[in-house]
């Protein structure tokens, strides 16, 4: 037996193209649709300017409680009838809240999509929001958050966010609130949030085989009866990076792993450095062969996986490294992590590493954007960040053309190893002593 010894050369690449985009404006709103010939399934997402950032202080989680209350019946039908009507189409309502928008998604075989959008709009625009139902949903959400916060991760995430955005009000608090803030949400808060933010037309994103979808019908389903104009966007929050690292221990007695969340603030999504920053983070902690995953997982065996990335929203951004490491190696794992961040900041990237990052990011635009759901998400990015329809083609080109100098310069500008906040959620008795060396130590009361 003799295997083929040499690696084959690539064939001829077919040109990349994002699906054709069509627009229909009617009833005060806009439908933006991407054509996916041959897909049986279609997805629609109603995108509303009703993000978590619009919640009031101390009531973080209001939008999430509203999202979960939408299916507790509408002005037209009770909750059981609503569930049967929607699920009878093969669709389920997927409401979600982030820092930039409120989304209500439905997926169904294309012939059922218009009915599914009609029902989604019915829940979004005319939910019953009976006081007793909203209070119960709120209480259930408090319980669900406590369940979630019993897992490793959410408490560390909250501690990191509180430290990075300490002076920025709503942005210092968890996206979906915490058990205490959700418990404080009143029925009136939820009704007011709905009244104030959910009734404008918004945008409907559609991805599917458009030969079988009538966009005018979808526009009417999504926007009929709505009023109001789009809202002006607020400006970026700016950057604040501490002079010395902060170290925060979140005690989790008996934990067999330490959950690491290490980060600092970064520019918002509109930054002109978006492409080189993304590539720098890919080299540092994005790809499987990234510096962090290679050293901490593949060489040291400290973790099942470690990731470093920038997350950027309309008004703020942050750099973050996330991992779960075995408790006994918490200190060494942090030391190695900081070493790789410092090396990337100070020495930049190499051509060999960048070649992987470029091709991976460019290829992912086709490989990871196959489903109607993924394409609808890509359309949402265009709308939220005001990007043109040919954005993904130019993004791909920019990835492929980025130079070592540009990416290294971005790493130097947008990594700050001496201004990191290091959150460790783990067994305090086992790890507390070894954390002081990494910066100003604190341990918040539970």
């Amino acid at each position: 037996m003799s295997l083929v010894t040499s690696r084959p050369e690539p064939g001829t690449a077919r040109p990349y193209a994002f699906p054709a985009v069509r627009r229909v404006t009617a009833h005060g709103g806009t439908v933006i649709a991407a054509h996916l010939p041959g897909q049986v399934l279609a997805t629609a997402v109603l995108l509303l300017d009703a993000s978590a950032a619009r919640e009031s202080q101390g009531r973080e989680g209001t939008a999430t409680v509203l999202a979960k209350s939408l299916e507790e019946g509408t002005k037209q039908r009770d909750s059981a009838a609503y569930a049967l009507a929607l699920e009878g189409l093969g669709a389920e309502l997927v409401p979600s809240v982030d820092w930039d928008a409120f989304r209500i998604g439905v997926s169904a075989p294309a012939p059922q999509l218009a009915d599914a959008v009609r029902l989604a709009a019915e829940a979004a625009r005319t939910p019953k929001l009976d006081a007793a139902d909203v209070a119960r949903v709120r209480d259930d959400e408090v319980t669900a958050l406590r369940m979630d916060w019993a897992q490793p991760g959410p408490r560390a995430d909250a501690a990191l966010r509180a430290d990075l955005f300490a002076a920025d009000g709503r942005y210092s608090r968890p996206l979906h609130g915490d058990p205490a803030s959700v418990a404080a949400v009143t029925v009136d808060d939820v009704l007011a949030f709905h009244q104030e933010w959910m009734l404008r037309p918004g945008v409907l994103l559609v991805a599917g085989d458009l030969d079988g979808l009538d966009l005018a019908v979808l526009a009417e389903a999504a926007f009929a009866g709505t009023t109001g104009q789009g809202l002006a966007a607020d400006g970026p929050l700016g950057l604040a990076v501490p002079a010395r690292p902060h170290v925060i221990l979140v005690d989790r007695p008996g934990s067999v792993q330490s959950t690491l969340r290490i980060g600092h603030r970064a520019p918002e999504r509109a930054t002109t450095d978006y492409v080189p920053m993304t590539l720098a983070a890919t080299v540092l902690g994005g790809a499987f062969t990234s510096r962090l995953n290679h050293l901490i997982r593949e060489v040291k065996g400290y973790t099942y996986g470690i990731r470093g990335s920038y997350a950027m929203t309309r008004r703020a951004g942050r750099f973050e490294v996330a991992a779960g490491v075995q408790t006994a190696v918490t200190g060494p794992a942090i030391r190695d992590t900081l070493g790789e961040i410092r090396r990337t900041q100070q020495e930049g990237v190499t051509e060999a590493e960048l070649a992987v990052a470029r091709s991976w990011r460019a290829g992912q635009l086709s490989v990871e954007m196959q489903t109607p759901g993924a394409i609808a998400g890509a359309l949402a990015t265009l709308v939220v960040h005001g990007l043109p329809d040919d954005y993904y083609e130019s993004l791909r080109r920019e990835y492929l053309e980025a130079t070592v100098e540009q990416v290294s310069a971005a790493a130097e500008r947008h990594l700050a190893v001496d201004g990191l906040t290091l959150v460790v959620e783990g067994d305090g008795d086992a790890v507390r002593k070894e954390l002081a060396e990494f910066g100003d130590f604190s341990e918040p009361a539970v």
Partner: protein
């Protein structure tokens, strides 16, 4: 398929479109002289191709003392082979724009990469090199490193998460000692610590053979091109004679005595798992179980949600549901779970849960319930095959487990053909209290 039109015809009710096939794309197959089965499903919609290999070896093949070995072995497959240096596999796939992964379960091990289609040949070369040339590259250092990675995977996914070990606890309660599904795929820390290099070399030589594998390519490639490349890269690999089968998974019907286990642990609320052995995946009886599980526990219109989360309001709405685990080599488990709302005693939750399960035996499933379940399953089927990766894996499964990739097209129509009587009969046969496994989690402060 060039268009979605025409395959969702034949509407029987306003809300339940019936499909004549769940796989409207072309399928072509061949078999190399060394026994490798090659399946190709061409679709030129996007310049993306998926290469998927199903090896017919899973944790069911592991002898006592070697639990977790099939999965640890899967990790070793990414650490280099005869002509691929350590770390190069990942670098070449991601560095050419691809996504890749592999998974191990009791039944099988699968490996897959979706690539921009100009890199099809690269993917095939990489897969052939680790099928035919892994052993020379296997080192003690690699084994030691990946053993630690897998132990961290176990910590992260099972040991450090509330209720994370439920599946590990259910299996030995559902399947008797010596049964191939008795132990979990992740394995025990003790066995992992004892893993020796020679065992893994022998494991590869035994099971990673062309005649124990199905290679599927879906997407932007033609059958002729793939068949020729398969011959070029895999054709030189020798078959292995007399691959030993896994221990027999035959079980004489459902369990005959109920089993209970109660765990007091660091969990935030009492939770129940009820489980029954049902039928092997791929049988008509299991199709009825799939529909039954959807009627019972999928979505807000399900009986569990309507009666316990809404209705009695004793269960947390985000943590209630039921599902079958699609295992093909022995009766597969149905798992039903609910978590108590604040202040609800676990006994009350269990009584409510048992009543709803029993209702599937006593109360016929209505047309609305049946249509709802079928509509949800229809959407989930089309979602599964909406990517070239999903399609390749589906074809690999049906070729490996049922001998013919075309059988993939039958599953959706089979679900849609399930009747209310089929569901009742499946419930009567499988959901008896005598055959039930009940796993209860209690928070530590409630310790008696």
């Amino acid at each position: 398929m060039k268009s979605g039109q025409g395959i969702v015809g034949g509407v029987t009710s306003p809300t339940a479109p019936v499909a004549t096939t769940g796989y409207p794309w072309p399928i072509e197959t061949t078999r190399l002289a060394n026994g490798l089965r090659v399946v190709v499903s061409e679709d030129r919609t996007a310049p993306v191709v998926c290469v998927n290999l199903w090896y017919d070896v899973g944790s069911r093949h592991e002898p006592p003392g070697q639990t977790g070995f099939a999965h640890l072995f899967e990790h070793l497959m990414f650490e280099g082979s005869q002509h691929v240096k350590k770390t190069e596999h990942m670098k070449l796939v991601q560095g050419n724009g691809g996504s890749l992964n592999a998974t191990t379960n009791p039944d099988r091990t699968n490996y897959f990469e979706s690539m921009p289609s100009e890199h099809l040949e690269l993917a095939l070369w990489l897969e052939a090199d680790r099928m035919g040339g892994l052993v020379p590259a296997l080192t003690q250092e690699t084994l030691d490193n990946q053993r630690e990675v897998v132990k961290n995977e176990r910590r992260q996914r099972y040991d450090n998460v509330p209720y994370g070990d439920a599946w590990l606890r259910l299996l030995p309660l559902l399947y008797p000692e010596g049964h191939p599904y008795h132990h979990s795929t992740i394995g025990s820390m003790e066995d992992l610590n004892g893993a020796a290099l020679d065992t893994f070399k022998a494991f590869h030589q035994q099971y990673y053979a062309p005649n124990n594998c199905v290679l599927t390519v879906a997407g932007d490639a033609s059958p002729a091109e793939v068949f020729a490349l398969a011959e070029k890269y895999f054709g030189v690999i020798d078959p292995v004679a007399d691959i030993p089968p896994a221990p027999v998974g035959h079980l004489a019907g459902p369990a005959t005595s109920a089993v209970r286990e109660t765990v007091t642990a660091a969990v935030p609320a009492p939770r129940l798992y009820l489980s029954h052995r049902t039928f092997p995946f791929g049988t008509a009886a299991y199709d009825a179980i799939t529909v039954l599980a959807t009627v019972l526990g999928s979505g807000r219109g399900s009986r569990l949600y309507q009666r316990l989360a809404d209705g009695k309001r004793i269960a947390q709405p985000d943590y209630i549901g039921s599902y079958g685990v699609d295992l093909a080599h022995a009766p597969a488990p149905l798992i039903i779970t609910a978590t108590a709302k604040d202040g609800v005693p676990v006994e009350q939750l269990e009584q409510g849960l048992v009543e709803v399960v029993q209702s599937l035996v006593d109360e016929p499933v209505t047309d609305d319930e049946l249509n709802r379940a079928k509509a949800l399953l229809t959407t989930s089927w089309w979602r599964q095959v909406s990517t070239v990766g999903g399609r390749a894996d589906t074809l690999g499964r049906y070729t490996t487990q049922f001998g013919d990739p075309a059988t993939a097209g039958y599953r959706l129509p089979a679900w849609q053909a399930v009747t209310a009587d089929d569901v009742t009969e499946a419930a009567t046969r499988t959901l008896q209290p005598d055959s039930r496994v009940t796993l209860t989690y209690l928070p530590e402060e409630e310790k008696a």
